[in-house]
Symmetry: C3
Subunit: 324 residues, 3 copies
Amino acid sequence: MKRRNIQLDKQGRLRHFLTVEGLSRALLVDILDTAESFAGVTSQSVKKVPLLRGRTVVNLFFEASTRTRTTFELAAKRLSADVLNIHISASATSKGETLLDTLANLEAMQCDMFVVRHDKSGAAHFIASHVAPHISVINAGDGSHAHPTQAMLDMFTIRRHKGDFYPLSVAIVGDIMHSRVARSQIHALTTLGVNEVRVIGPKTLIPRYINTLGVHVFHSLREGIRGVDVVIMLRLQHERMSGALLPSEQEYYHCYGLTEEKLSVAKPDAVVMHPGPINRGVEIDSTVADGPRSVILQQVTHGIAVRMAVMSMALGGQRGASGG
Amino acid sequence: MKRRNIQLDKQGRLRHFLTVEGLSRALLVDILDTAESFAGVTSQSVKKVPLLRGRTVVNLFFEASTRTRTTFELAAKRLSADVLNIHISASATSKGETLLDTLANLEAMQCDMFVVRHDKSGAAHFIASHVAPHISVINAGDGSHAHPTQAMLDMFTIRRHKGDFYPLSVAIVGDIMHSRVARSQIHALTTLGVNEVRVIGPKTLIPRYINTLGVHVFHSLREGIRGVDVVIMLRLQHERMSGALLPSEQEYYHCYGLTEEKLSVAKPDAVVMHPGPINRGVEIDSTVADGPRSVILQQVTHGIAVRMAVMSMALGGQRGASGG
Amino acid sequence: MKRRNIQLDKQGRLRHFLTVEGLSRALLVDILDTAESFAGVTSQSVKKVPLLRGRTVVNLFFEASTRTRTTFELAAKRLSADVLNIHISASATSKGETLLDTLANLEAMQCDMFVVRHDKSGAAHFIASHVAPHISVINAGDGSHAHPTQAMLDMFTIRRHKGDFYPLSVAIVGDIMHSRVARSQIHALTTLGVNEVRVIGPKTLIPRYINTLGVHVFHSLREGIRGVDVVIMLRLQHERMSGALLPSEQEYYHCYGLTEEKLSVAKPDAVVMHPGPINRGVEIDSTVADGPRSVILQQVTHGIAVRMAVMSMALGGQRGASGG
């Protein structure tokens, strides 16, 4: 007998969104379809729908991230929710209150959703396993574990450009070891049934367990992106540089920085993605980032629609027009 | 001839809410009744009412308090008001502007309400006595003086559990000396006509004037809570420890920390309250805080309804369904 | 052939509002007329109009200014827009992202307007010249260059009190050299056709090029304000004191501080203005600031209406009732 996934309610519907791992293909497709219905909303001049009117979404950020907080705040407001931004380090914990007491208080204030960002892996899962039944938790990035809304907006972007997933070869390039984005992407791509996932990076930045996820490992960028349909570049965290895992930014760029010349071995219609913010001249050349194959800014736009989809599904709101 | 209470308008209606002291029993009951009408709103899925649409509420916090600010922000948003959060220390005063000039500017911007938190006793009263006629001021805690919305949410919680006030014995335990909450509670309880208010704490933390308020003083927790209907624990401010007013947290817990065993001498159906955030193992044991007699989280929930009541009454908004 | 003004679209309508310089008299009057239609809105009890519902306004502040941010936030909310407050120093640039990438991301999130405050002259213009076609930029103060919404609220205040501009003599007093407000005021006053603009201040604080703007320079306050209809005092930045440009606050007050006695040589019905926050006893005496000729707080009130006008015009919203 299988233990029920904490992310789903008894009817198998999305309640929390903590990780892509363990979710069904049908559910991921449902998220993409729901997001598709919101993609139109965000390009109207009145970009609001009343699905979450009267609901309260709390951005519970234990780690600062203006960019991610902004996307969730915009998604919530465009669903007509009220939004509270709370930085936990600067608030109750300084008065000695426990995290669970802080959460219990926000629950008692009849908040409906916690969007959680934390530098410790598993934090969102921990919170989801302790909240009251009426609360939904969305993981907005936990340590090096997962960043599922980022992965889903990447899938949304791939589907918009490539249609079906099954014939695709997708390469993920960079610091796989420390990337919550990469882990979530790999789970999403394999669940959605792409033909092949490749991970590319120096040995020091590719974890050993990665083979168990069904991916192919490459240490040469040129070899790895040969013939792929999608190239996903990861952000290089500057702090890794001081950790002796990498020789220098210059050498990293020489080996793994994506240039037009290196990209020429991918499929002619290959698209280039990046979760942002980009380090120009470190992991990606500006001619590629700003070039015709880059869909980096479309990812940002789709991120709003995908977050609107996940939020409205988790709170049981009605689906948009074309939603499943 | 009695000087008119600054909190009331010429018709005797609530204009500012600065302190419970000096308000009539009828007005306090009116606040509780109005809050009762909002208590239903906050448990609906659409938790908004349009009473304060187009009004602007300014959270004017001279002292950081995420928890209190959050409850007022939620209450205002659920009344459909626009909310501005302003930390005064980080703003105009650093440019040398006087407080009264800052207030005059916010008034000129057509704001409607100032929710004031300040570490100096009397700050909210000072501000209320200087604002323009169209502005209401709510005291969200001033020094060791008053915290009237906290007291009223406590009264609301007591009434919900006990019905009438007149037969009740209520004990307040802890640092009476420095507690703005305790002062406001005592005024509210005596105005609402409870049978007996007891204050319990070490001699160093009970002020001498307290007898003039009509309460009974106990220095033994066991004696003090014998037979009471309601036990209100106060938060122990850690900073008092260094002030030689208390021997140690351990000894304080030994004498005044509420445990199941000590609670057994209260009435069998006694409820336990605490304004939060709680210090587990200092003023209250976790088995009590999380136990069946604890109504601590209900206090938080009621806090939203009570603040909605006070805000809408002060701004002359229509009352909720069952409002007086 | 004249290069098109970046502030106007092809039909000559306001798209960005970066500086008063180069805008036509008709457009400035249109702003004032539109603001007039909003001035009524802000004194209603429901102060909202739905013109910008579903639009997203980003306060992009590279320099802290609670007061200015607050006025734009209120103006946007009263137009029913969603508002994001972003301090750039504390966000993406600390991760090494370029400013243009930050802007591109906000554009991709389908934001509609950037309200920009920056300590470098030309920053708002730079941003406006790089944004996507659907974005409007409002300059909320850039270095010592311009502060056009401040100038327009001053014009609005003057028109309300004096009616026509053409017969007026207006004096601007203080640190003309470093004042973005003064520059914008001079352009607005001359475009609107006042009879005479005088600038008054010590030689060290009046730039040499000022004569090219068609103003008369005075170094004596008494001479300069003789017979004027409007006296605009500028804020003295304390940091100028350490720069050897001024002897002392005391001496500055003696020479250029506005007192009732000095004001007596202006026209009997002259009004006194100040952009705030005021330094009492430095550039202005309290008896003047709080006296019957002061319209300083009216300027603040008008500032909301003028910002509503500029925002709604730039986003192509319908004009208010009496709008041109």
